[in-house]
Structure formats: structure tokens, C-alpha cells
Amino acid sequence: MLTARNLSKRFGAKRVFERVDVSLAAGNFLLVTGPNGSGKTTLLRVLAGLAAPTSGDLTLPDRALVGYLGHEPLVYRELTPLENLQLFACLYRIPEGAERIGMLLERFGLWEVRHQRVGTFSRGMQQRLGLCRVLLHEPQLLVLDEPFNALDAAGAELLDATLDELRDRALIVATHDPERVERLATERLAFA
């Protein structure tokens, strides 16, 4: 699914990470831990195909199979949840988009507010919409950067349940308090 050999990334002279080797197949769960600013976010952006590594070789799945959720939920605040998901459903060419959008909004408790502007939502609700966006096109590889820290309690349980269901997919999760997903992890990568 995803293989990385001797990956390194530098910003000018500053070395962000070096000699990172990753090989992920369906069902693997890579847990990336480390304090903030230790390069976790950059590594995840590289593994999601958003940033180019400085050196090392990397084979990524096709973009249509990758789901990425960063610190930002990556949804338009001026639009409603429905409009946001319809946009991404079109971009990802999802056949029966409407049902899938309805199911996801229902599942993440956003169905009632589907016509309200996302700008009026709490941070937790926005992050849940971000999760809906990530899961919309049923990605084979999910790259989640600190998914729990912006979620409210209800959202966190929903995410736990979702992660359990995605055992058959490849996952990369970065977090600075790993206890929550410790049981799921098959590989670990600790950043100093």
C-alpha cells in the first residue's frame, strides 16, 4: 500500500526528520508519537502526498484512495455541511453520494445542522465534519494528524468506534498521548 525507504525532510538547513522507513499494508496501523513540533505533522503530510520529501524514495497509493485529516478540518466555513460534502463527493466521483453523505452526517450527529453554515459550529462539530469528509470516499489509507485533540467527548467515542471498524484499512495516526489508540497500533514510530 505504502512503502518509504530512507525518507528525510529538511527546511533549508534545518533537518525535520531523517532515515524514516515505513511499509504499510491494509490492516496495518502506524502510531507516530512525539512532542509537538518534532516533525510528526510534516511526516504525515509527506506520507499523504501533500509535501515532497527532500530525499529517499516513497511509493504512495493513488490520490483517490487517501484520506487526510490535519489540525484543520479542511471544510469551508461559509458553506453548510451538505454543500461541503457534495463538493467533495463530486471531486472524488462518488457514485451514490447523497446516501453516503446522509449516512455519515447522521452517524456523526450532524444531520440536524446540515443546512447551517459551518462557521457557526463548535470546534468539535467542525472536526466531526472533517472526519465525515475523510471517510466520504472510503479511503484505503487514512492519515490522521492529532484527530482527538479538537474533538469533544461524544466525537472521541465516535472516532474510537470508527477506528475499530477500519481494521481492514491502512492507518497512520499521529498523537502526543498514545494511550487511546495503543491497542490498535501494529507499528510505532517515536519522534524525539
Partner: protein, 225 residues
């Protein structure tokens, strides 16, 4: 270009320029109506053509960077465009001096080439502004490469625009002086052009060497930290 080592290149540039200056002042005939000042032509136009060569080389390296991503192509494109701006400034300076002696004005809007260099000068200064406003990295390299490609397309488009602007905004008062060159004048012109192009190659390699040294030193200091 890279195969020729720096000392040989610098020597070739010095010889070529030395010979061309000697030819310009001791061999080339004094022009009938313009007198001695026509000799500015032998430096002004080769410098302008060299500036075009710099921008073209920078665009070629940019295209190479976007296409096959060779190591260092972005740096070479940057240095080439930096050279282009230097030669462009010299073109503007020598051009305005020539305009002063030919028509008594420091800036001649009627000289198409001068106006074109003004536009290119503005454009490539913006290239540097873009380069300094984005943090170093693959994103900056891509953007600068794309902008360099826009620059090389802008050259013919602006030249055409300036010619078109002749007929309604600035009716041509003086004929733009592209003098018909006699055989000997053309020969001297070619020697001067070769001299300028070799000078570009030499300065280009010098600056590249300097920039690579800088990068290696930064990496060394990083490894030591």
C-alpha cells in the same frame, strides 16, 4: 558548459572582451553621421542579447526542473535570471547613455528595446520578490520555475505589444536606430557578442560555485550542531 572549468572560462571571457574592445576602438570604422558614439552600439546590443540569453537559459533550467527535477536545476535557474537582471540593468544604463547622445534625452520611449527591457526588469524584480517571500523548499522551486516560464513568454508578447503601442500612444518621432552594419562592423559586433556571452558563462559559474559553497557550509554547520 559545466564541463569547462572555471579558470579556462574566465580566461576565455577576458581574452574575448579584450579583443573586442581593441577591435571596437582601433579597427571598426567611425560611423558617418553618429560619429564615435555609435561605438556604444557594440556593447549595448550584445549586452541586451546576452540578457535575453540569460533569461532563456533560466527558463530552460526551470522547464528542466519541472520536467525531470534534476538536482540543482532550481539554483541554476535562479542564478541565470540573476545574471539576466544584471545584464538587463547594464542594457538600460548603456541604452539611456546612447539615447542621451543620440537624441538628447536620458529615456527614449521610442526605442522599443529599451522599453522592453524596462518591462522585463519590472517582471524579473518581481521574480526575486516571489523568491524571497516563500520559504525555501520544493514549493518555492516549483513556483519560481513557473514564473520564469511566464517571463520567457512575456518577452515576445511585450515586444509585440510595444510595437503595437507605437501607432497611437507614442507616434515615432525619431527612427529607431538599427543601423545597417557594414561587413567589418558586423564582424566586430559578433566578436563583442561572443565576448559578452562568455562573460555571462564565467560569471554564471562563479556565482553558482559561491551558492553551492554556501549550501555545503550550511549543511556542515548543521551536522556539527
Amino acid at each position: 558548459m559545466k564541463a569547462i572549468r572555471l579558470p579556462q572560462l574566465a580566461a576565455a571571457a577576458t581574452v574575448a572582451l579584450g579583443v573586442s574592445i581593441a577591435l571596437i576602438f582601433f579597427y571598426a570604422p567611425i560611423d558617418g553621421d553618429q560619429g564615435l558614439s555609435q561605438k556604444i552600439f557594440y556593447f549595448h546590443v550584445p549586452i541586451a542579447l546576452t540578457a535575453y540569453a540569460c533569461f532563456a537559459w533560466g527558463a530552460w533550467k526551470a522547464l528542466l526542473h519541472l520536467w525531470k527535477r534534476p538536482e540543482g536545476a532550481d539554483l541554476e535557474s535562479y542564478v541565470a535570471i540573476h545574471m539576466g537582471v544584471i545584464f538587463g540593468s547594464l542594457t538600460l544604463l548603456t541604452g539611456s547613455i546612447w539615447a542621451k547622445i543620440s537624441w538628447g534625452v536620458w529615456w527614449a520611449w521610442s526605442d522599443n528595446q529599451l522599453v522592453l527591457f524596462l518591462v522585463l526588469f519590472l517582471f524579473y524584480c518581481a521574480y526575486f520578490m516571489l523568491r524571497y517571500s516563500v520559504d525555501p523548499g520544493p514549493a518555492r522551486a516549483n513556483m519560481c520555475a513557473v514564473y520564469a516560464l511566464f517571463g520567457v513568454v512575456l518577452i515576445p508578447v511585450s515586444f509585440l505589444a510595444i510595437r503595437l503601442s507605437r501607432s497611437f500612444i507614442h507616434p515615432v518621432v525619431f527612427t529607431s536606430h538599427g543601423p545597417q552594419m557594414t561587413g567589418s562592423q558586423f564582424f566586430v559586433f559578433c566578436v563583442a557578442l561572443v565576448g559578452m556571452l562568455t562573460l555571462f558563462a564565467a560569471l554564471y559559474q562563479i556565482e553558482l560555485a559561491g551558492k553551492r559553497l554556501d549550501a555545503h557550509l550550511r549543511e556542515l554547520r548543521e551536522l556539527l550542531a
